[in-house]
């Protein structure tokens, strides 16, 4: 379990209540309760699933994604440059990071918060223990679905390797002077092992953000991380399929004679 004061290490203070790793019944009640704003509200579809509206953010905002440039990342991250134009990794200073981290933490302070502790990666030796902190119920539902849920035993001794503050309602008013792309921010700090997200409501920003973090740590530990689908035959023979959207990755890894290991 977690107490409100445990969040002060992230700069989040005077938290009213923490809803820790909510179960699906709690989530359903929270995201459909009366009085929620448009983007906070879950709608029940005909099948009984909950759908949400993420406003103008119907996809990731790659131009708002930055990584803190420091001694750890300077020579390890593949930075965007004249010679590496296709890289998506743009640097920010520690000062700008701190500025937006404070904005996100202030937004989450004095609130009733949802926190979700979960795993990224199936392998117990290399999985990342991730903690998400947010004020919007459906966002905690999203990460509960997307990541691996720990057992009650595993939760008891859970110590996060990486923490994400999701503050969709907060924006950075000083973005212009700081030379940033917009008031929205998706910042990663590999020394503090934290990400702060502001402005965007797109849930996939959390999923792909952690995928990017896995893509930092795994290859440096001699593990091949990749963006693919995989299936396995009855002799245990595994095939992996790479391809950009529209090339048949999902169609071709779905095979009646083979079990799907994962898709994307």
């Amino acid at each position: 379990m977690m107490a409100p004061e445990d969040l002060s290490v992230y700069g989040i203070h005077d938290v009213a209540e923490i809803v820790y790793n909510p179960d699906y019944n709690t989530l359903f009640a929270e995201e459909t309760k009366p009085g929620l704003d448009k983007l906070e509200r879950g709608f029940i579809t005909r099948t009984g699933a909950v759908s949400v509206d993420t406003g103008i953010f119907t996809g990731r905002s790659p131009r708002d994604k930055y990584i803190v440039l420091d001694d750890k990342t300077r020579d390890t991250v593949w930075w965007k440059s004249e010679k590496a134009k296709v890289s998506d990794n743009k640097p920010i200073s520690h000062e700008i990071w701190q500025h937006c981290k404070d904005i996100a933490a202030r937004q989450l302070s004095r609130k009733r918060l949802f926190t979700v502790d979960c795993f990224s990666g199936t392998n117990e030796n290399t999985r990342l223990r991730v903690r998400f902190i947010m004020e919007v119920a459906w966002q905690s539902h999203f990460v509960k679905n997307m990541f691996i849920r720990p057992t009650p035993e595993e939760l008891k001794k859970f110590k996060p390797d990486f923490v994400v503050l999701m503050a969709s309602k907060a924006v950075n008013p000083d973005w212009k002077e700081q030379g940033l792309n917009s008031e929205n921010f998706i910042f990663f700090n590999l020394s503090e092992n934290m990400a702060v997200i502001g402005g965007t409501w797109y849930g996939g920003e959390m999923k792909k953000g952690i995928f990017s973090i896995m893509n930092y740590y795994l290859p440096l530990r001699g593990i091949a991380s990749m963006h693919c689908s995989a299936n396995v035959g009855n002799k245990g023979d595994v095939a992996i399929f790479f391809g950009l959207s529209g090339t048949g990755k999902t169609t071709l890894s779905t095979d009646p004679n083979r079990a799907l290991v994962g898709d994307d």
Partner: protein, 198 residues
């Protein structure tokens, strides 16, 4: 299921709307790195009013937006693991055959599935292989259940010369893309394993 052993078959899917790439080809270790780093597919897009034509799309490691370290590191890890587990890599064109978008047609799904089955059950390696010019890819002469006249992509075009012109044009796009991230010498050395224009 979300856990399985090491992969022994690595399959790169490209939907080539230029109709240049063969339906299937076997990659060497260096070609595996090259095509992994290229992360190629093509789409069709409107360029002028009423004109729709093929447009290439490259994304390093088939997911450039999510790469935090130099792409060559992922390519090296992939091929290192492949060597350890005796894995093969194949490049498959799920896009156009017998000409580009507008002239040719998209390869039928049953043929692609038969190709993948032949890879998975190893029967594809019983075939003879021919070398495809420009791209220097090893193309099987026959795959069970697949019309063999489509395996050599130039066959289906109006003339081999027309295929060759289109292949040279696509090769240039590969070469140009690769120059955008050859920041380290190891990556730069792979250029010769991609398409070559003589």
């Amino acid at each position: 299921m979300s856990k399985a052993g090491h992969a022994t078959k690595v399959i790169f899917l490209s939907a080539d709307t230029f109709g240049v790439l063969p339906p299937v080809s076997r990659l060497t270790e260096e070609q595996t790195k090259y095509y992994f780093l290229s992360g190629y597919t093509a789409k069709v897009a409107g360029t002028e009013r009423g004109i729709v034509e093929p447009v290439p799309s490259f994304s390093a490691c088939f997911g450039a937006a999510f790469l935090l370290v130099d792409p060559i590191i992922y390519a090296n890890e992939l091929t290192r693991k492949m060597k350890m587990h005796d894995a093969e890599a194949w490049l498959i064109n799920t896009g156009w055959i017998r000409g580009p978008y507008g002239t040719g047609n998209r390869i039928d799904l049953p043929s692609t599935r038969r190709i993948i089955n032949a890879i998975l059950n190893d029967s594809i390696n019983d075939s003879d292989f021919i070398n495809l010019p420009v791209f220097n890819l090893a193309v099987p002469a026959s795959v069970e259940g697949v019309a063999s006249d489509i395996l050599d992509p130039a066959n289906g075009w109006e003339s081999r010369t027309k295929w060759h012109i289109a292949a040279t044009d696509l090769a240039l796009k590969f070469i140009n893309n690769f120059s955008k991230f050859t920041t380290n010498p190891e990556t730069a050395n792979l250029v010769e394993h991609g398409p070559v224009i003589s």
